[in-house]
């Protein structure tokens, strides 16, 4: 990255503030739709941080996969399950939140002291920079070949699993006689019918 030191520090400050503030918004805001959009902002700021770390390929993958796929998926899920409901009051919810906050602050203090006090073995070699995508490709097809293929199988399994979990298991009772209604209804077979047909 051929940026001056001052530019790097200023952009790091802006991006870090954006990441943390939008992450706090994701957790603390009441409306879950705002949370989903702020999550997208957090992901994009995170991609900016990756650019500061000389990783252009992973930054592009972050924007494509996280913002383009996961965030859109979350928004669709919110639209599908967005029922305005008043949550029943749980006894001791305030105590629980305060205790969780204390635990998280303690965890942060612990991690912070560890980060500051550890002497990191910082390498002085010049970063891969623009050739990072070449290096990543070489890793994928030599020493990380087995995990690379396993990830493709895992994605296939997740795809099939998500479809099996999310689809409806009943045929609507009120199928009308007219054809266009049926086309819009997308009826699905019951499990028993599928299994009995497999038995034959």
């Amino acid at each position: 990255m051929n940026l001056a030191e001052g530019v790097q520090i200023v952009s790091f400050g802006i991006l870090a503030a954006a990441v943390l503030i939008s992450a706090l918004g994701v957790v603390l805001l009441k409306n879950v739709v705002y949370s989903a959009f702020l999550l997208g902002g957090s992901f994009i700021s995170m991609a900016g941080l990756y650019f500061l770390l000389n990783a252009d390929f992973v930054a592009a993958a972050q924007v494509l996969v996280y913002v383009g796929a996961i965030n859109v998926l979350i928004l669709f899920a919110i639209m599908l399950v967005n029922k305005q409901e008043e949550y029943a009051v749980v006894k001791g919810a305030g105590v629980r939140q305060v205790a969780t906050g204390l635990v998280c602050l303690g965890l942060f203090a612990l991690l912070g002291t560890m980060v500051v006090s550890t002497p990191w073995a910082i390498s002085s070699a010049t970063p891969a920079g623009d050739s990072s995508i070449v290096t990543i490709g070489i890793h994928f097809f030599t020493d990380f070949l087995l995990p690379f293929e396993l990830v493709s199988v895992l994605l296939l399994i997740a795809l099939v699993g998500a479809i099996v979990l999310a689809r409806r298991e009943f045929v609507p009772e009120n199928l009308s006689a007219s054809g266009e209604d049926e086309a819009l209804m997308l009826p699905e077979r019951q499990r028993e019918m599928v299994s009995s047909r497999d038995d034959n």
């Binding site: 790097q8 992450a23 957790v27 979350i74 399950v81 073995a121 890793h139 979990l165």
Partner: protein, 101 residues
């Protein structure tokens, strides 16, 4: 620019994710908190990859794997939330006690 700054940001993000994971009532928000925690881990790996291992950049390879696994996790998790919502007609975490006791 130092390694420690990035690690502190990642630690803060991870703690925010843990807080959201424990305190959220909405199941979709719980999944969003998990994504935040995965992102914190990614930032850690990327920072180490840039400052400790700048030639081999194995951290970036790991980050790519984690992004792929996060995509699979989000798809399956949201499908589970949809299935539970269809059965129970709510997304309140306090009422998901199917596997409790």
């Amino acid at each position: 620019m130092q390694l420690q700054y990035f690690l502190l940001i990642a630690a803060a993000l991870f703690c925010i994710g843990v807080f959201g994971l424990v305190t959220s009532r909405n199941a979709v928000r719980v999944l969003m908190s998990i994504e935040l925690m995965l992102n914190a881990v990614n930032l850690n790996l990327m920072a180490f990859s840039n400052y400790v291992d700048p030639k081999e950049i194995k951290g970036q390879v790991f980050t790519t794997f984690i992004i792929a696994i996060a995509a699979a996790e989000a798809a399956v998790g949201l499908a589970i939330v949809l299935a539970i919502y269809r059965n129970r007609d709510t997304v309140d975490m306090e009422q998901f006690n199917l596997l409790k006791w």
